[in-house]
Amino acid sequence: MKKQTKAALFGLTLALTSALSMTAFAGDSDKVYRTVDEIKESGTINIGVFSDKSPFGYVDENGDYQGYDVYLGNQIGKDLGVDINYVSTEAANRVEYLKTGKVDIILANFTVTPERAEEVDFALPYMNVALGVVSPDDHVITSLDQIGKDDQVIVISGTTAETYLVKNNPEIKLQKYDAYAEAKTAFENGSGVAWANDNTEVIAFANENPGYTVGIPSLGSNDTIAPAVSKGNDSLLNWLNDEIVSLGKDNFFHKDYEETLLDTYGKDYEDTLVIEGGQPAEASTEAEAAAAETEAATEAE
């Protein structure tokens, strides 16, 4: 698949006519993923994580990957008995990395949505999330109505916040950035009136940076975050689901929270954020819905 895509792209630049046929060729779905046995055999698993989204996936001062997602990644590597190769990803690349087989699992704070479930397979969830909007203290935005028609809201390309605003509030002008680091700097520079993102992220930002308030702590529906694998990789998907259920028996995800998120969010958010063993506390049906999302999405097509 990878080679074919490359060839297709090469063809595109050479001649548009030949490109047409070659892209159709690249569109054919070959098996791009690796099964659990193949991963074990190779001795290394490739996991896509964020490198700039503290405290979920980031690189610490020693150059090591750290965070809530990475903590789970380390456990997965240990339980599979293989080395881990962390691949840094941007929000907009996550689906693509799985579709091209660049990584085996995406553990990059990946919110489960029906659109994404058409492209990748989600395992059981391990965290709750909604959208949030943070703004400077001197002009706190508590409702989207307060955003003027010339004001710009900062979002990161390829996130659920972007999709939500494009779909539900097309009148709001968005200022889009590629990466967390750039969006953060632009927001600090005052380039936009507010920043819309996962509420976990904006709460963390407001806690770490005085002068900012999360005026809208929960926007849109309550979603879950789950590991994702390439479409059709049932062997790895089933293994992950079993892993998440069995880790839940030892309260693994609460431990993960206490190790990685406690400093940022404090005790108060622990039960709101953590999903243990793939079962959200308030509604266990939600977890099943998330896991079955793939099937539902394909049926709906």
Partner: protein, 219 residues
Amino acid sequence: MDFGAIHEYLPLYRDALFLTMRIGWQGILLAFVIGLAATIILHFRIPVLRQLTSFYIELFRNTPLLVQLFFIYFALPKVGLRITPALCGMVGLGLLGGAYMAETFRSGLENVPLIQSESAASLGMSRMQAFRYVVLPQAVSSSIPGLVANVIFLLKETSVFSTVSLMDLMFTAKDLIGMYAKTVECLFLLVVFYLIMLLPVSILGSIVERRMRRAEFGS
């Protein structure tokens, strides 16, 4: 290929094309002005300015546009100078292009044999007249291929504008892929739109080149 999706994305790509062209051409115009000014400063060996110009050319020719944009857009606001993304793109492209244009003009000037300005002087022309009527026309004509290459190079450099949140062609494609995951369709449109933008420039460039060369060598 999902032609429905292609149809749906076309207006977005069209907007991106206009934005890319608008900022691209403004930047290129600025690059020409800066390049010409730098060339004149270097050619007439204006003290102090000459050293500053050399420094500018080396600085911008040896750093990537991405870094320059980062600096202009993210670092300057820290010292209180905030500019819009569009202005940042234009200034960044103009400064980068200016350095390249200056080098191209310089090579064109060096191409004009010394005897040309000596002959002009012997006809009683002033230094300025010799430059304006004898040296510059020949220099411009021999630097046309280089200038056209620069223009195409600069238009392609716009693909890093995404870093300052400009919805140029590249960013539009990446953004749509991130939202709807129609990779092949988005990349196909991307290539098509870059060709729409750049093919006419290449063709026009070779026509201009032929015409200017005729002025140099006769038809």
